[in-house]
């Protein structure tokens, strides 16, 4: 999705201290990183702060970037880890009604009284989107990140494996579980698609 060779050329210019090159990278990626942070946190201010911190970190560490990998993978890895760290620090904020994360990072079921389905509600597409966004925000952070990388950023399985530094099989299994959980949570809330 992102042009690896174009990125590499721009990064080489960044390393020479060309101001315009940094601005180019920012223009190319700020939307993707801000939206990733926004969907990870569901909070505009947090998303802005996190995304800015990600870019500041990346731009100060360019000398450590291994050019044999895609720049986008490195950037998304830093952004994903930064968001997950933020969520861990603010753990209470992301306890969901459908699932939460245990010490081992796996989600467990929280028992709450069932929510009554709203009668005769025909969801418009826009409303349905909002519901989906709401449910994504309640996924455990690791699942949320992988769903966003796959569907929102439209990264391939290979790119996600490179981004999250995981074996391809683990990526596929985690995406599979994340989608199942997403579907289950939509059903639990009686959100018809």
């Amino acid at each position: 999705m992102f042009d690896r060779h174009q990125d590499l050329k721009t990064i080489k210019r960044c390393k020479r201290g060309e101001e315009a090159a940094f601005a180019e990278i920012l223009t190319r990626y700020r939307g993707a990183i801000y939206n990733l942070c926004y969907r990870m946190t569901r909070n505009g201010e947090d998303a802005r702060d996190l995304a800015q911190e990600v870019f500041i970190k990346v731009f100060s560490l360019l000398d450590r970037f291994d050019e044999s990998y895609a720049f986008s993978s490195w950037l998304f890895r830093i952004a994903t880890n930064h968001c997950i760290d933020h969520l861990r620090r603010n753990r209470l904020k992301f306890l969901s009604l459908d699932g939460a994360v245990g010490k081992d990072g796996e989600e467990y079921e929280l028992q709450f009284p069932g929510k009554e389905p709203e009668p005769d509600t025909v969801l418009q597409r826009k409303e349905a989107m909002e519901k989906v966004e709401e449910v994504i925000a309640d996924l455990p952070p690791h699942y949320r990140a992988i769903i966003l990388l796959r569907h929102d950023q439209q990264l391939s399985y290979d790119e996600i494996a490179e981004t999250l530094q995981m074996p391809l099989g683990t990526v596929k299994a985690r995406i599979h579980r994340a989608r199942n959980l997403l579907q289950q949570m939509l059903k639990n809330r009686s959100y018809d698609l």
């Binding site: 390393k15 101001e19 995304a51 800015q52 994504i136 997403l182």
Partner: protein, 171 residues
């Protein structure tokens, strides 16, 4: 739900169909399996409903609206970049070559000019003697080992010059 046995090439059961549904929609399911799944979906209302829901969900996930980036987002980032440090590092970075091309990579005794020239003289002498006295060629081959230090140092030098020339072209 239809309950069918899992045999190679046989129609899929509902659990098998549901198991492969995500890969089917991703387009990563193997061809024969995709065909079986397609046939199962054609006949099974429940699995088809599941398929439609998942497809719809995929569609929505793929088209989530973008949230606009806040105003003045770039300013603190661009202000924090250590441009001068990058510029100051540039000449040092440009001179950087892979470890195996750095002189110190080879032991000092190999790099020593005495060893290199002695090796060259010994090798040339052995080859000349072998030719003059009609000795077996293996003697000349053993003598040529003396060229190794000089060849290693020369190859390293050529490699280093090539890398630096490439870096200069890029910049």
């Amino acid at each position: 739900m239809k309950d069918r046995k899992n045999t190679e090439g046989q129609p899929l059961s509902c659990p098998e169909c549901l198991e492969g549904l995500q890969e089917y929609l991703d387009g990563t399911l193997e061809k024969q399996r995709s065909l079986l799944l397609f046939l199962h979906l054609r006949d099974c209302t429940e699995c088809r409903r599941e398929h439609d829901q998942l497809k719809n969900l995929y569609g929505m996930l793929q088209t989530l609206p973008d949230h606009p980036v806040p105003e003045h987002f770039d300013e603190p980032i661009l202000a924090s970049i250590p441009y001068e440090a990058y510029r100051a590092m540039e000449p040092i970075r440009r001179e950087r070559v892979p470890v195996y091309l750095e002189e110190e990579f080879l032991p000092a005794w190999i790099r020593s000019s005495v060893v290199r020239w002695s090796g060259i003289v010994a090798a040339v002498g052995t080859v000349a003697t072998t030719w003059a006295l009609q000795l077996p060629p293996t003697v000349a081959i053993v003598g040529a080992v003396g060229l190794v230090p000089a060849v290693l140092v020369a190859l390293q030098g050529v490699g280093r010059r090539m890398v630096l020339a490439e870096q200069r072209t890029e910049s």
